[in-house]
């Protein structure tokens, strides 16, 4: 039996059959590069979905690649500000190019971003990168007012990673038209259930667009066709979100009844504080994978992705087994 994967924040549901068939059609053209017209169609569909003009859309093979490119293009000579913990790719690149890397420790119970401190830091040329909602706390760190306060400072470039936007409904994507120093990074990995296709996109303000003008990221045809098909009719995403939120609330309630501290989440995962040492290993022994954050952040914190009702039941019963309750 393969383990139950609740450690990568994937959606447990397959996309509709038509999306899978589109990916299969792409596989039958393995000897060919993607057609530029298809890439343009994908940009148009993303623009419509995001309600942002097509000229602000950059498509890429995964949002991590976009974030890495942003680091390469913009961290040199700038101070880079991120939250801690961060699963942000290319931290090493930041340290290679940036004048300074500042991490802002997020701590319970509120996991709030200290905005005053950030504003004070923005006197020097800065690149601020923030997940919204945040991973792994699940908290919404920015609203439009906060975004505006940050980007009205001309020294600043702000990148908001909205990988979990569909679960929160909070976005600042529409602000990229007005603010050249704002970029929003998104992915079809999560709510669209296309983690295996690795399709990411950037909704970019002018400063970012200019830098990305020579960027060309082709997609594998299977990913491209799957993404196009998914975006043509994305009603299934709403269903994924509804099922996930319903399960998230159920799992949260049961964990609280067991005695764990569970933090409010606007994503498809839960941040949990447990008093059980090595809970990650204990669950792994029972074929349930979660992310134990103790080694890289605060002691006793774990992140658990929301699976199918059956997977969540196995997770909960495994927890009870570990606790012997």
């Amino acid at each position: 039996m393969s383990p139950i994967k609740l450690n990568m924040n994937e959606i447990p549901y397959l996309p509709p059959q038509r999306v899978i068939e589109a990916a299969q059609k792409g596989l039958s053209n393995l000897n060919r590069y993607a057609d530029p017209e298809d890439l343009e169609l994908l940009r148009k569909l993303i623009a419509d979905y995001s309600k942002v003009p097509i000229e602000h859309v950059v498509v890429s093979a995964g949002s991590n690649l976009l974030l890495k490119e942003i680091i390469h293009m913009f961290s040199k000579g700038r101070s880079v500000i991120i939250t801690n913990p961060s699963f942000f790719p290319a931290i090493q690149c930041v340290k290679q190019y940036a004048t300074k890397l500042t991490r802002i420790q997020l701590v319970p119970p509120g996991f709030n971003l200290n905005l005053d401190f950030i504003i004070n830091e923005l006197n020097e040329s800065s690149l601020v990168i923030i997940d919204n909602p945040d991973n792994p706390t699940g908290k919404i760190l920015l609203d439009k007012g906060v975004v505006k306060t940050i980007i009205e400072n001309k020294n600043v470039l702000l990148v908001v990673d909205e990988a979990y936007f569909e679960f929160s409904g909070i976005t600042c994507a529409d602000m990229v038209k007005r603010y050249p120093n704002l970029a929003v990074v998104r992915t079809l990995d999560k709510s669209f259930g296309l983690a295996g296709a690795r399709v990411g996109y950037l909704l970019a303000g002018k400063i970012f667009l200019d830098a990305f003008s020579t960027f060309y990221a082709s997609l594998p045809q299977s990913s491209l066709y799957a993404a196009i098909e998914a975006l043509k009719d994305h009603r299934y995403v709403k269903k994924n979100i509804e099922l996930t939120i319903k399960e998230r609330e159920r799992v949260s309630k049961e964990l609280e009844e067991i005695g764990f501290q569970v933090y409010p989440s606007s994503t498809n995962f839960l941040l949990i504080r447990t008093g059980i040492p090595d809970i990650g290993s204990e669950l792994k022994d029972r074929d349930v994978l979660i992310l134990d954050l103790s080694t890289q952040w605060l002691q006793g914190f774990v992140r658990v992705s929301i699976g199918t009702p059956k997977e969540n039941d196995i997770f909960l019963s495994s927890i009870r087994e570990v606790l012997k309750v």
Partner: protein, 368 residues
Amino acid sequence: MKKIGLIVNPIAGMGGSVGLKGTDEGVYKQALTLGAEPITPKMTKKLLSHITNKDKIYLFTAPNQMGEEYVKDFDIDYKTIGQVGKNKETSADDTKRIVEEMLNSGIGLLIFVGGDGTARDVCDVVGSQIPAIAVPSGVKMFSSVFAVSARAAAEMVDAFIEGTDLTEKEVLDIDEKAFREDRLAARLYGYLMVPNVKPLLQKGKEASSIDKFSGDNKNEIAKYVVENMDKETLYLLGPGTTLKAITESIGLHKTLLGIDAIFGNMVVGSDLNEKSILKLLKKYELRKIIVTPIGGNGFIFGRGSKQFTPEVIRQVGRGNITIVGTRNKVNKLECLRVDTGDFEVDNLLSGYTKVIIGYREEMVIEIK
């Protein structure tokens, strides 16, 4: 009415400001000759003044300077237990004997004011019979049994009266002789039950990591700190291996557990006490303190480096304090903590700050 015992180790913490790192084995006499002032009266009074449920307490207090002397100034019903001569030298045996008598009188909670040594004495007698609240007043206080401050201890007393859960916390045995010889030798001594009010309890000291990554990280920190050092400034370096890495990177020796001073690439003071630090501060116009938090509990002042007294911190100023710590250590902290014993200085230090955690790398974290 809750029957609660109170015992104070009157000499606890006296070695701190004079750089003696403890008061075990008669070292406190040396502390007295160096001009050390007792600190437990202040801590005990702070504790008693912040308990809000005074009317629900019947206190069994140790006599004279071991408790009674402070209790009588407050509106709390009390009875004195045991005997000890007024202003006479007290010992671990006095603590153990009087705690035993308090237990026989039926106390349901014991409050003690002292350091790691006092915690060990209490642990010997109390074990898991009743819960205890440890008011930090020693020099080191590496045991997790301690409340984060006297005020926090008072809140724990109130929580106990209102019926909070209990939890088990560690008492550590720190070898003071080794500590004075610049070695940290700690072992788990035992456990005490304490009211479970997590934010009010400190975490025990975590051993410094000596793995390769941690060593590399300390060297990164040292490189960044040294690059930003100025030859016209006096640097007062607190205890710890991260600070030692800084001096080693410029070829200077540093005591592991003491406070050393460097100026213009030379060591100008080693294993300093408060008096000698204040003397240096008079001599040098530009001065900075560099400290590292204690792993696990995040204390930067008030634990392990009491030579940085409120007066020293006030003179140096908040803006001249640099905090350094490895990623592994700082990542695991919810906040940094201070408990200098001076409310104003604690307030001055509180708020958000940056900790250097690598080469050109910082962490923003709150000091509480």
